[in-house]
Structures are given as structure tokens and as C-alpha cells.
């Protein structure tokens, strides 16, 4: 079974803090994705990566950056957290051949 894990289920940070969200997958997938999920807006793509050290902007990259130094790990970074970044963050991975996305359990981030 594919397993995608995220470093925290719940996180509370203060405005202006630097926040790291970690995602690890164990299936040697090439592709990894970060989404944020807000009521009524569905899953919006922040960044994705096809390969190590590769990254592509999604639809809402402003205020976020990512890092992929190893194939199994994809990190989302909020350089200076703001209250409008309070959301559920979901990580997913997929293989280029299979394309099915496998999601992690999500991190509910609250910025106060």
C-alpha cells in the first residue's frame, strides 16, 4: 500500500513565523503535490514537483515556496505566515505512469 505521511495533523503558528510542512511518500513516486483545501473552493494546487530539485507553480503559489532535495520528501514553506494561510494542507504523490494521486492525512494549520 502506498503511504503518504505528513509531519503534523494540527499546527498553530503566529503571524510572521516561518512554517515548514513536511511530506514523505514511500512508493518511489516521481510526482509530488501540495494543495490547500478551503470550504467551497475544493483542492487548489500550490506547487508540484516532477523530480528531485524540480518544482512548478500551481494556481496559488504566492506566499509559499517548496523544496524537494530527496525523491521521497516534499516540503512546503510559508516564509512569513499570515492569517489568510489558515487552511487544511494536503500533500499527494503519484507515479508518472500511473497518475493516480495518493493523499496524505492533511495538516490543519491555524495562523493567529
Amino acid at each position: 500500500d502506498v503511504k503518504v505521511t505528513q509531519s503534523s495533523r494540527y499546527l498553530v503558528k503566529r503571524t510572521g513565523e516561518k512554517v515548514f510542512l513536511e511530506c514523505v511518500q514511500d512508493m518511489d513516486h516521481e510526482n509530488m503535490f501540495w494543495y490547500r483545501q478551503d470550504p467551497g473552493l475544493g483542492l487548489r494546487l500550490i506547487y508540484f514537483s516532477y523530480d528531485v530539485k524540480m518544482k512548478e507553480k500551481g494556481d496559488i503559489p504566492e506566499g509559499y515556496s517548496v523544496s524537494r532535495e530527496k525523491k521521497e520528501r516534499f516540503s512546503l514553506i510559508l516564509e512569513s505566515a499570515s492569517t489568510n494561510q489558515t487552511s487544511m494542507y494536503l500533500c499527494a504523490s503519484s507515479s508518472t505512469s500511473g497518475r493516480v494521486q495518493y493523499f496524505g492525512p492533511g495538516t490543519r494549520l491555524t495562523v493567529t
Binding site: N31, F33, Y35, G40, L41, G42, L43, R44, L45, F48, Y50, D59, L90, S94, T96, R99, V100, Q101, Y102, F103, G104, P105, G106
Partner: protein, 108 residues
């Protein structure tokens, strides 16, 4: 770039049928359907590749009209376990986007 889903929400009684639609403005390689139960991660249901295929999974099936860039998810004889939010994901050369979701509630 997000696909458009309709309806936004639907309430059913057990045994009733529902259709959820998904349309995209871009040419598609494939369409994915996922279901998310409250407090859980989305879970893959099925994938449809271009070629106008139709797939089934128990009493949940889907179609994909490549020319119209549309897909529909059909839930027949709904069960309580079908409740959740359904998302379509449109894949354009590995560039995946998800719709806003359709909240399905099945009542006894």
C-alpha cells in the same frame, strides 16, 4: 484552470440515484474521481483515460467524453456509505487540477 463541478451539493435518500458532472475548458488526458469523507484524506475511486470510455466500480460508474471535455459520475441505488465530498481531477499531461467538489449526503 480548475474544472467546474455540478451540482455543489445533493441530498439523497438511500436507494436513490445521483449524477455529478465535471467539465474542463482544456483538453484532457484523463479524468480522476475521488471521494473524501469528513476528516479524512481524499481516496481514489477511478480513472478514465481519453477514448470516451466508461468505467464501473460496484454501483458507482463514470463516463468521459473527451470531445466535450466532460465527465460524469453516476451513483445508483445509493447507500449511506456513499456520503462524502466527490472531487473530479482533470489531468492535462500530468498537470492535475481538482474541482471544488460535490457534497453528497445520503439519508436513511
Amino acid at each position: 484552470q480548475q474544472p467546474v463541478q455540478s451540482p455543489q451539493a445533493v441530498i439523497l435518500r438511500e436507494g436513490e440515484d445521483a449524477v455529478i458532472n465535471c467539465s474542463s475548458s482544456k483538453a484532457l488526458y484523463s479524468v480522476h474521481w475521488y471521494r473524501q469523507k469528513h476528516g479524512e484524506a481524499p481516496v481514489f475511486l477511478m480513472i478514465l483515460l481519453k477514448g470516451g470510455e466508461q468505467k464501473g466500480h460496484d454501483k458507482i460508474s463514470a463516463s468521459f467524453n473527451e470531445k466535450k471535455q466532460q465527465s460524469s459520475l453516476y451513483l445508483t441505488a445509493s447507500q449511506l456509505s456513499y456520503s462524502g465530498t466527490y472531487f473530479c481531477g482533470t489531468d492535462n499531461n500530468n498537470d492535475m487540477r481538482f474541482g471544488a467538489g460535490t457534497r453528497l449526503t445520503v439519508k436513511p
